[in-house]
Symmetry: C2
Subunit: 171 residues, 2 copies
DNA sequence: GGACGATATTTGAAATGTCAAAGGTTTGGA
DNA sequence: TCCAAACCTTTGACATTTCAAATATCGTCC
């Protein structure tokens, strides 16, 4: 009994080891990373060519588009996963282009709230429509059922990662 | 949890349809992107804290570690998915730290080959071992079968994206 | 052997990114 | 009241990133 069981286990180990070495998680990570880079670069190129915008600007405007009242810079920083200092510069440039407005509310003068201007909303909604289409095109060869499955399972990965962060996590 | 499975599935579908409607690909992309950012930032932090290294440096050294003869900068650029100009600066800093060496082969003086020094190999192999462990830890809550499945299905995404890139096009 | 196109890398400008430290502002006790 | 801790944003020093233009070298065609 131990003989047959251990034999099949050994075989699995051997096959896996022979074909790919080991480190399943590492291989998944490398593939996720390269795929994400590939898509990012394509989106970046198209945003640039068709709208003269950058990806970080698009991401930031996407957050503001969903919150028409505007967002504090710290909140923007969390949602875009970009550091505070970086948000400052991004908003500065967007404001210079007339796409975003900065306001300090009366209640608390430590705070700066960023908000899309009318021009910003128009500009973003055109980009968003195109952006969605690009993604559909790029993933056109993937079975929708697989897309759903990936969405779910990557959620599991994200959740696992969130629970094993070293520094100050929680949110 | 107290409800039957089919009821909760229906509910999910309804909620999903009502709240987000369509855009499955868009939602997958946003989740992939945020998950990748999360993992990247964690690795970045640990590389910095434990080894005083940066992620791009680690990535570049990883390529050189697999090619002990060294790589031309253009090849490095392709493999790391980083632009040529960027590789120049990365290699410069790594050379200043004594981790990488630059050589111009006799045959072709246009070419620069980068190669890990002994110090670079030692340094990288310590980082690589830790790096692999971090990924295993971060993904510890994900079923290995799911990890395999993700690896395969993300491969399908990557392949689809590769087939729908806008080369040099016009408007 | 000299001009030309193809290759390979570097450079320069601008934007994005991190981190740590410094600025203001509020708030909550003593 | 007053001051120290907490909060929010900006600043400053660097590293990374992209793109486009500039350099440098090779190979070839004549």
């Amino acid at each position: 009994m131990t003989e047959s069981e251990s034999a099949s286990v050994d075989l699995e180990i051997i096959v896996q080891g022979a074909q790919e070495g080991k480190k399943l998680e590492l291989r998944l990570w490398l593939r996720m990373l390269s795929t994400t880079k590939l898509i990012s670069q394509e989106i970046r190129r198209r945003l640039r060519n068709e709208f003269g915008a950058t990806l970080p600007q698009f991401d930031l405007m996407a957050q503001l588009y969903r919150e028409r009242e505007g967002l504090r810079l710290g909140e923007l920083s969390k949602r875009t996963m970009v550091t505070n200092g970086n948000v400052t510069g991004l908003v500065e440039r967007l404001e210079a282009d007339g796409l975003v407005l900065r306001v300090t509310p009366d209640g608390d003068r430590r705070v700066t709230v960023a908000k899309l201007t009318a021009k910003g909303e128009t500009s973003f909604s055109a980009m968003a429509a195109a952006h969605e289409g690009w993604l559909r095109d790029m993933m056109a060869d993937v079975d929708p059922a697989i897309v759903s499955e990936l969405w779910r399972d990557i959620g599991a990965v994200k959740s696992s990662v969130s629970n094993h962060l070293s520094g100050t996590d929680f949110d």
